[in-house]
Amino acid sequence: MITKKDKNRDQQSIDPGKNDSPLAKLDKKNPFRVPANYFDELPGRIMAKRRHTGKTSVIEGLMPFFSHPKYQLALVVGSLALVFSVLFIYNPWKADVSDQFLSNITLDDLLRESPEIIAEMENYLFIEILIADQTGEIIYSTGKSLEKDSSLSEEDLINYLKEEEISTELIYEL
């Protein structure tokens, strides 16, 4: 609670010689004025402006709803789910790999042009290439060496995977 004494102390601490100050000789009268009846009409104008600006858009109306942290989290999770769903359905990277990379480029081309890609391939991708390539070409290692065998059977393939200690389950997943 601010008392009159505090106010006087404030004033004295700042302006101890205030009686000598030119400011002390001035009349504090307000030099400005307002149009007639201004303060009688102002509340009505403010109320009208409030009603006018109070009409919020749908988005503004939803803002208080999303101001709660729980709903903000739900909004983030929902947005991420939507983004991943769209990517899963349209998957632009998948189109590059399966449509262009596998159908337009043969394994020979791939190994000649970009052996480092084969070297980095995971086992599941290696088998996918094997199945997709209907010419019977097969890669016996993950790109470090290449042998061709046009008469390769599924049994040969399984034996190969076992020798290489690669899970045979992968082939059934394709």
């Binding site: 601010i2 505090d6 030119p22 504090k28 307000n30 004025r33």
Partner: protein, 190 residues
């Protein structure tokens, strides 16, 4: 009648006004009372800063619309009076900042523009000495002018000012002291 009205308003505590504003049934009535209680203080606070009546009129309306919009968020950590002053001050300083930017790309400056408005304004009827005081005030930086006005005209304590301006009491006292010295110097020299 007016005396009766103002007595009713003065009797209404800020707490009871807030209760009226926050109740769905009485929100319009409550807000109307808040406007009637504080409109003059807020208007004059803004007017002394922007000088021009039309600008002050726009700003006082903006201030109360903001008060209305944020009424439910008001946590009552300060008094309703200082909270409204704070909104009005922020609105006014933003307005002056926008004007300042506008005048940065034109010849002259915002202070000389406002000083020109003083004499052109139909709603200024001060005498020669008061005109000099207003011109002296316009020679001060915005924050010093604000501090001086709150102390000199609104008779606000430094503690209240500290809440309104979010500045320490010490800094406000220093700012006020410098403002007083500059005004005294201006009044003696011009």
């Amino acid at each position: 009648m007016r005396f009766y009205q103002s007595t009713i308003l003065e009797d209404q505590s800020d707490k009871s006004l807030l209760e009226l504003c926050l109740s769905k049934d009485s929100e319009n009535y409550g807000f109307n009372l808040v406007v009637r209680k504080y409109q003059k203080q807020i208007y004059w606070h803004i007017r002394r800063m922007v000088i021009n009546h039309s600008d002050a009129d726009d700003l006082v309306q903006e201030t109360f619309v903001k008060v209305w919009r944020n009424m439910k968020k008001f946590r009552q950590e300060s008094s309703l009076y200082t909270w409204i002053y704070r909104i009005a001050t922020n609105e006014t300083l933003s307005f002056l900042q926008r004007k300042k930017l506008k005048y940065m790309i034109r010849p002259g400056n915002i202070e000389s523009h406002l000083a020109g408005k003083l004499t052109d304004d139909n709603f200024f009827d001060g005498n020669e000495v008061q005109l000099r005081l207003q011109k002296a005030l316009l020679s001060l930086p915005g924050k010093q002018r604000l501090v001086f006005n709150l102390k000199y005209y609104s008779d606000m304590t430094f503690e209240e000012m500290s809440v309104v301006l979010d500045t320490s009491v010490g800094a406000l006292k220093a700012s006020h002291h410098i403002a007083v010295k500059k005004i005294e110097k201006y009044l003696i020299n011009y």
